[in-house]
Amino acid sequence: MNIVVCIKQVPDAAEVKINPETGTLIREGVPSIINPYDMHAIEAAVQIKEKTSGKVTAITMGPPQAETALRDAISLGVDEAILLTDKAFAGSDTLATSYTLSKTIEKLSPDIIICGKQAIDGDTAQVGPEVAEFLNIPHVAYVRKIEDIGEKSIRVQRLMEEGYDVVESTLPVLLTVVKELNEPRLPSLKGKMAAKKAEIKKWTAADIGADEKDVGLKGSPTQVKNIFAPEPKKDRQMLEGTPEEQTDALIKKLMELKCL
C-alpha cells in the first residue's frame, strides 16, 4: 500500500495563554507539536505499512519551520516527507489548503490518504473531505476502526452521533481519523536517527503544478474580518463575603431558581 498522511504543525493547545488585558494570544515560548489527531493518522498509516508493506509519505503545508513536524513523523515510522512551502501559499483558508494538498497528492498517487479528523488550532474538520473532493475520490470521516483492507477496497467503522456505521469504500480513499482508532507509538531510536539524516523534500507551487489563482490568499474565499475576546455579561453579580456568606448567597439564589 502506498499511503499519504497529511499533517499540520500546531501550537501546543495546553500552553497557549491569553493576555487578560488586551485579549490577545500569548504565543511566545509555546512549543509547536504535530496536531494530536494527526498522530493517530501517522500511527494508522505506519500500522498499515507494517501489515501490508509499502511506503508512507507525510506531507504538510507551512513555513520552513514545519520541517521539524515532518522529521518527528519520520521518527515515528514515516518513510518520506514533503514540505509544501512557498510565499504563494500564505493566507490559505481550508479550500486553498485542500487544493494545494490535493495537487501534491496527485503526484504521489497513493492508495490511501489519512488525515486527523481536525487540527486543534482551527478545529474546522474541513480539509480532509475537501481534499477528497478535489481528488475526486471517496472519503470516510471520523474513522474509529479499520476492519479490513483488501486489494481494491477497505472496510472501516465511522463514528456517528448515536453509534457507528460500518462503511466499505473503494480504493483510493481518504480517511479522517479519531483518537479511538489507536494509541500512537513513541518514536524509536532508529527512527530518530533516520529523522536526523532524512532529506525533506521542499515543493513549491510550481513543483506541484498549482494554478496561482487557486492557492494562498487568492484561492481563499473566506477571510478573517477581525478577532476579538468575548464580551463580558452585563448582568453579572459577584457574591462577596466570607466563604460561608458566599455559599449562603448562592443557596438563596438556587432556591429562588427553584433548583432546591
Binding site: 507509538r185 513513541l186 524509536s188 531510536l189 532508529k190 536517527m193 536526523k196
Partner: protein
C-alpha cells in the same frame, strides 16, 4: 551538570525520559500494588529500540555501549525501579552471549533480543550459592550430543517471563570454580520449569522466580564458550552489568530527590514553604551533591568500559557500591523531608525507598563489592613492588 553527552546520547536520554514520564509514571503505583509484570511497557521499550541499544548493528541493534545503556537505565529508574530492573536484567542475561557467544549463537538469538521480541534472564544464584558462587549445585552432564541439566536456580529476575535463559551449571564438580560452564536454555525445553513467583519488599513490578531443571536436555551447541569457562563468563558479565546497577541507583535517587524538592516547595509550615528552612535545605543540598558524585562516577566508569579497558572489575564495583549506597541514603532522606506524607503510599517516595534496598543486595551485595575492590587493591599493591 553537563556531561558532554553526544547528540545521540542526548536523543537516547530524551526518549527514555519520555517513555518514563508518559508510560511508566502513570502506571507505577498500580504495578507495585498488584505486583504485575509490565508487559505493555516492555512493548513500548521494544518499539522504541531500547532493547537493541547495546547490541551490535550487525545483529539488528544500535551498537552502543555501556554509557548509553546506563543513561537509559537511569531515566527508567527515575520513574520505577521495578520496570528498570526488568529492563536491566535483560541486558544482564544477554551479556554472556554478547561477550562469549559463538557467531551462530549470536545470529540465532541477538536479533530477537534486540527487537525486544524475546526477553532474557541470567541464572547464577542458587539456595546455597549466592555470594559464594563456587557453591553452585546445578549440574550439566554431557550425554552424546546433549547436555542434561539438573538443579534449581533461585531468585531469578525475569524468570518465567523471559524466553531465553543464560545459565551457569557445573560440568565438572571436582574442578570447583573451574568446573562451571555457561549454557543457553530456551523456555519450553522439556524438563525446564518455574517455581512460584516470589513476594518481594520492593521492585514488585519485576518478576522473580525459581528455575527448575529436571533432566532438562539441551543441544550440545548451547554451551557458551567452552567447558570450564562458566565463572569467567559470569564474572565478566557482572563486571559489565554492575555499572548499570549503579545507574539504577542514580536514577531512583534522582526520582526521590525531585519529589522531595517539589514537596518542600509546596508544603507550608510556620507560614513558609519548608524549603526555606535551612534544616531542609541542608538535607537537599547533601542529597543533590551525593547524586551528582555518583552520576559522575557511573558515567566515568561506563566510559572507561566503553574504551575497551580490560580490567574493569574494581571500577565497576566502585560504581555499583557508591551509587547504590547513595541511593539508599537519598531515598530514606527523601521520605524524611516529606515527613508523614513521604511515608504514605499516596506519594511515590516510600516505594522508591523500598525499591532502592535491592540495589545494595543484587548482582553482588555491597559487601562483596568491597571484597572485589579490596582484592584489586592488594593485586595493584603487589604489582608495584
Amino acid at each position: 551538570m553537563d556531561y558532554f553527552l553526544t547528540e545521540e546520547q542526548v536523543m537516547i536520554r530524551d526518549l527514555a525520559r519520555q517513555i518514563a514520564e508518559e508510560k511508566i509514571v502513570p502506571q507505577r503505583e498500580e504495578l507495585d500494588e498488584k505486583e504485575e509484570f509490565p508487559w505493555d511497557i516492555m512493548k513500548v521499550l521494544a518499539q522504541s529500540d531500547m532493547f537493541g541499544l547495546f547490541i551490535p548493528e550487525e545483529y539488528g541493534g544500535l551498537g552502543k555501549g555501556c554509557l548509553e545503556l546506563a543513561i537509559a537505565v537511569e531515566e527508567l529508574s527515575r520513574a520505577c525501579l521495578g520496570v528498570s530492573t526488568t529492563y536491566a536484567a535483560n541486558a544482564l542475561g544477554t551479556y554472556p552471549l554478547l561477550l562469549y557467544g559463538s557467531e551462530e549463537q549470536k545470529k540465532k538469538y541477538l536479533p530477537d533480543i534486540a527487537a525486544g521480541k524475546k526477553l532474557v534472564a541470567f541464572g547464577l544464584t542458587e539456595a546455597n550459592a549466592g555470594s559464594d558462587a563456587a557453591g553452585i549445585q546445578t549440574t550439566a552432564k554431557l550425554e552424546g550430543n546433549e547436555y542434561v541439566l539438573n538443579g534449581t536456580k533461585q531468585w531469578i529476575t525475569n524468570g518465567g517471563e523471559a524466553e531465553i535463559y543464560t545459565i551457569i551449571a557445573m560440568t565438572d564438580k571436582s574442578k570447583g570454580a573451574r568446573g562451571a560452564s555457561a549454557f543457553i536454555v530456551e523456555k519450553g525445553t522439556p524438563g525446564f520449569s518455574f517455581g512460584k513467583k516470589e513476594k518481594k519488599m520492593g521492585i514488585r513490578a519485576s518478576t522473580t522466580r525459581e528455575l527448575i531443571f529436571e533432566n532438562c536436555r539441551i543441544p550440545k551447541e548451547n554451551i557458551i564458550g567452552r567447558e570450564g569457562m562458566g565463572f569467567i563468563v559470569a564474572m565478566k558479565t557482572l563486571d559489565n552489568s554492575r555499572v548499570g546497577v549503579g545507574a539504577q541507583g542514580v536514577g531512583v535517587a534522582q526520582g526521590a530527590f525531585d519529589e522531595a524538592v517539589k514537596f518542600a516547595r509546596q508544603r507550608v509550615q510556620f507560614g513558609h514553604p519548608i524549603i526555606s528552612f535551612q534544616a531542609i535545605q541542608h538535607m537537599l543540598a547533601d542529597m543533590a551533591t551525593q547524586i551528582e558524585a555518583a552520576r559522575a562516577l557511573v558515567y566515568s566508569v561506563a566510559r572507561y568500559i566503553d574504551s575497551g579497558a580490560k580490567d574493569i572489575s574494581k571500577a565497576s564495583a566502585m560504581a555499583k557500591l557508591f551509587a547504590t549506597d547513595m541511593a539508599m541514603k537519598v531515598t530514606v532522606d527523601a521520605v524524611q523531608v516529606m515527613g508523614g506524607s513521604g511515608y504514605m503510599r499516596e506519594y511515590p517516595v516510600e516505594k522508591m525507598m523500598r525499591d532502592a534496598k535491592i540495589l545494595q543486595i543484587y548482582e553482588g551485595t555491597n559487601q562483596i563489592q568491597r571484597n572485589v575492590i579490596g582484592q584489586a587493591l592488594i593485586k595493584e599493591a603487589a604489582k608495584k613492588k
